[in-house]
Symmetry: C2
Subunit: 242 residues, 2 copies
Amino acid sequence: MNRRTFIAATWITTAAGTRALSAESAQTGSLVKRNAVVLFQGDSITDAGRGRPDAAEANQQKALGNGYAWLAASQLLVDRPGDNLKFYNRGVSGHKVPQLAARSQKDCLDLKRDVLSILIGVNDIWHRINGKFDGTPASYERDCLALMDQTLKALPDVKLMICEPFLLRCGAVKDSWLPDFDAYRAASRKVAETFKATFVPFQTMFDEAPKLEPPDHWASDGVHPSASGASLMAHTWLKTVG
Amino acid sequence: MNRRTFIAATWITTAAGTRALSAESAQTGSLVKRNAVVLFQGDSITDAGRGRPDAAEANQQKALGNGYAWLAASQLLVDRPGDNLKFYNRGVSGHKVPQLAARSQKDCLDLKRDVLSILIGVNDIWHRINGKFDGTPASYERDCLALMDQTLKALPDVKLMICEPFLLRCGAVKDSWLPDFDAYRAASRKVAETFKATFVPFQTMFDEAPKLEPPDHWASDGVHPSASGASLMAHTWLKTVG
């Protein structure tokens, strides 16, 4: 066998292996069905440096950023290469619920995605504490409920995932954030329950992680995940999706 | 409620959340049972900068390194906090099968772990190609079979995981590696089948990943995974474990 033949044989083996991997993992029980289009929505944690000129490109790292959205998407795409999945990201750094609502028509409803995963809330408390925003836990809950209601009226078949806002107790995060933050967490859970959305328990996960390594291993400023933190988030997101 | 009481209440909520997460995920079908002790063994990809003075410490990032071993271990520990799992790493940069065999008594058999996950092979081909090692695919297979036979005779109840050696087609990896490499891959699969070990298809995974982003996104030198590459490996390892 000459080298050209040998390389061709390698590719055939590879393709067969890929098919086997696909058949194994395309679980019908997953929230992400065959041919699904998935939209990640949120703030800087979701944004994670994504490139705006590439936003219309599905499944590209530069369009999905360097965070949990890219890691989760790429892992599912590798698991299920034959399932024609498409992932997009519309997270925008610094955004809070009112800003998400203001761009909902363009960045969510018009896109008509099958699965919508939303992680929003840490700026709502951060900017409130530093005096740049006058929202409260009550307005967070009210605005989230209104946004989800509007979303589900426009997209009644969308699979909605509400991700729990989270913080690590280090960096910018002070003890003074905590009582309010607990109310934001509770509100996000209530929103998920109200609309029978799938809840992704990121804070439960980030309460457990510091028993292994200190909070700043997972997010040095307490808010933006490290590579380990983003990998952990992708894992929990995928586990929740099934 | 004063602030101290509020913080205490937060911790109680957290503990309840953690218990719920644990109950969900402590699947009896997992290869890693309650109270299991897991050993990662291999070369630099497993080593990933682990600290030698900390090697006796279970579940510590500095003892587990910055690679897939730490990501996989930490994700499982966060999922199953009540399951008393312990993870150790004995990967050593640059090692090939003969060196793994030479330190097997001290670094594996004496430790009596419940689950043993081995990833070895890329140096066996790399050092052969650069003329520093006279091993062949045949000697790789023979030495792996002998090592696994010795391991299972000493530890008949160990759950054995054989990880497929892999490469990305970039960096140090040249086309001239490929025909031989395919034989190393086939040998690792044969070793897994011979001993009914669990096979972790890392090359199948890394054949799929470059359809999303170029090979150097996953491992800039073709051998040592990036953060995205290591996260993908941890995901596939955990999916294989169940």
